[in-house]
């Protein structure tokens, strides 16, 4: 939520005598996370249904979507509500990807206020990865108006060449085996981390065996081998 513009005071002159009048200028309307997306009304129930496994009632979904547009500052109460908001977020991010990914710098930006709305940072990052579909290695950063950019980790999306198989990732002495077709999170400390990638089922930056430097952080490394 955004909040600015304090109350102001003003002196007004009334006929015959002076009078102090306290004139509070209207505090601007509170805004919410979904106010970031002016094209939210282009998100349809069909788009949302796909993320929910096609089980939901289209009319109910349309109404829930509409209410999210009308009341963007409300917060989700139940686990189901927050999942629904994450689904909307995925589609909303797709409407303006340029605000959240820099393809040249290979960076995904997560605005700080989003992190406060969705307390589980990992789920939030996965939603961004789902929406933005980065390829290769992309760093994920938290974008704060006051603190600037803070590294959260990286997403590693190799090119899958075989529907089955595994990927071996080494970080220092630790070995992680990741199955093709899933999204796995590997812990990686803050700062630059050297990783070794090996696989016969996938290629990273065109190579099946590579040693690379990636950004670690609170989130770690998101290895996305989904199709």
């Amino acid at each position: 939520m955004k909040l600015n513009a304090p109350a102001s005071w003003r002196f007004c002159r009334f006929p015959r005598k002076f009078k102090l009048v306290v004139n509070y200028t209207l505090m601007p309307k509170l805004t919410g996370l979904f106010d970031h997306f002016p094209k939210l009304n282009t998100v349809t129930a069909d788009m949302v249904t796909a993320w929910l496994g096609g089980k939901a009632d289209a009319k109910l979904l349309e109404n829930r979507l509409g209410n999210r547009i009308l009341y963007p500052s409300a917060i989700p109460c139940s686990a189901e509500d927050i999942n629904f908001d994450l689904v909307i977020l995925r589609e909303a991010v797709k409407t303006q990807p340029q605000d959240f990914i820099n393809q040249n710098l290979r960076l995904i930006y997560i605005p700080e206020e989003f992190g406060q709305f969705f307390p589980d940072l990992r789920t939030l990052a996965v939603a961004f990865v789902d929406a933005l579909k980065p390829r290769g290695i992309t760093s994920i950063v938290l974008k704060s108006a006051t603190l600037g950019l803070k590294n959260l980790g990286s997403v590693i999306k190799p090119e899958v060449i075989s529907p089955s198989g595994t990927i071996l990732i080494r970080i220092h002495d630790q070995k992680y085996e990741v199955k093709v077709g899933c999204l796995t999170v590997i812990p990686a400390e803050s700062g630059k981390v050297d990783i070794n990638f090996q696989s016969r089922a996938a290629k990273l930056l065109g190579k099946d065996n590579a040693t690379l430097e990636v950004a670690g952080g609170k989130l770690g490394l998101l290895v996305d081998t989904r199709g």
């Binding site: 909040l3 919410g32 009319k59 829930r64 547009i69 009341y71 500052s73 989700p76 109460c77 509500d81």
Partner: protein, 386 residues
């Protein structure tokens, strides 16, 4: 925890929903720009007064002659009786088709008074230009004429009225008699819409079903007020599901104002009693501004109107925006998130510590006491109404 969360100030949005009995300007628009205005600035008017006369704006009526006659679109012109540009009156012979070597005929008569405008030979459609009809502009309110805008054909009247603001709407400003067709939460079906409702603004409970919307338009209902509407139906009427009410400027011949949101939601406890009080009375409904003006139909209101001075024309048609206010015990609030969307009540308690919600978000919970039950709601999901 959401930013702004501190017990010094729990800021929530506040929105004006009902504004009772205030002197304001209403706008009456002449039926056409070339009409004759019968009132002058400063003149007092009563509900039955005629403000001006003009002719209703012309329109077109398309008749699909290919399907009516069962002929090829290119042959439609041969069956047409009047010539292009000729005036034709309702019931007059428009086209004639012959079958079975001329033994059987099919006659098509004109449904309206109009001028034969053109034939679309690709689709087989005939277009009739409607003949303008004389129309009188009735005041509908007690008031004083404060301004005349001849360029736009607007007459601005100072009057005493209550105003109800909805959350969204569609359709241009229309006038009619308020007719309540059910209780605040009823679902309104097509059976409840009758021919007797022509020219009325119907108050349709928690939701108006799509068939009822269609029947309303067919029956000549001028406006609908409901607590909720299906987003798909609203999209069909307004062209899109809105981001803000100001963005929608389409008109399907029916004005709608929704007071609560999407889905079946009873009309708010603050709004429904006001509508009940005005049942059977004249009102102005503007869908684009999601606003209903309920004039006070009492001759004594003139005393108040005469006493109150407004700038020449304060008719802006704008919707009051929401503003952030500090939530306090005793305030009247409305829940703006499911599952209790639309719940009204008084703030009884405000927690001093944060509570973790099942969603994982931490927030200050507020105890809201309604007419039948008390609920706990995170403060962000409340809207102060006043």
């Amino acid at each position: 925890m959401i930013p702004g969360d501190n017990m010094d100030a729990l800021l929530v949005n506040s929105r004006l929903r009902v504004c009772k009995e205030q002197v304001l300007h209403i706008r009456k628009r002449m039926p056409s720009l070339r009409g004759k205005v019968h009132v002058a600035v400063g003149q007092e008017v009563s509900p039955g007064d005629i403000l001006g006369e003009g002719q209703t704006q012309v329109g077109f009526r398309t008749i699909h002659l290919t399907s009516e006659l069962g002929v090829d679109p290119k042959q439609v012109a041969r069956h047409l009786k009047p010539k292009i540009g000729q005036t034709i009156f309702q019931g007059e012979l428009l086209a004639e088709g012959k079958y079975l070597f001329g033994m059987r005929k099919k006659l098509i008569t004109s449904p309206v008074d109009g001028v034969v405008d053109c034939i679309d030979e690709e689709k087989g459609n005939l277009r009739l230009k409607l003949v303008p009809k004389p129309s009188k502009l009735i005041s509908g309110v007690y008031g004083v004429v404060d301004a005349l805008d001849e360029a736009k054909g607007d007459i601005i009247i100072r009057t005493l009225a209550s105003v109800v603001y909805g959350i969204l709407g569609s359709g241009r400003e229309r006038e009619g008699i308020i007719k309540i067709v059910g209780s605040a939460g009823d679902l309104i079906s097509s059976k409840q819409i009758t021919e007797s409702m022509r020219g009325s603004i119907i108050v349709g409970g928690g939701m108006v079903l799509p068939e009822a919307l269609q029947k309303s338009a067919a029956c000549g209902v001028v406006g609908i007020i409901s607590g909720g509407i299906n987003a798909g139906d609203f999209k069909a009427m307004a062209g899109e599901v809105v981001k803000t009410v100001q963005q929608v400027w389409s008109d399907v011949g029916l004005t709608i104002m929704v007071t609560e949101g999407f889905g079946a939601i009873p009309i708010g406890e603050d709004i429904f009693p006001v509508l009940q009080q005005h049942n059977g009375k004249y009102a102005f409904l503007d869908g684009h501004q999601a606003r209903l003006i309920l004039p006070i139909n009492d001759p004594s209101s003139m005393i108040c109107i005469r006493k109150t001075r407004l700038p020449a024309n304060t008719y802006t048609g704008g919707l009051p925006g929401a503003e952030a206010v500090d939530l306090k015990v005793g305030m009247t609030v409305r829940v703006v998130y499911s599952p209790a969307l639309g719940f009204h009540g008084l703030v009884e308690t405000i927690d001093k510590s944060l509570t973790a919600l099942p969603s994982g978000i931490k927030s200050y919970m507020v105890g809201v006491s309604g007419r039948r039950q008390k609920i706990q709601v995170p403060y962000q999901n409340l809207e102060v109404i006043g």
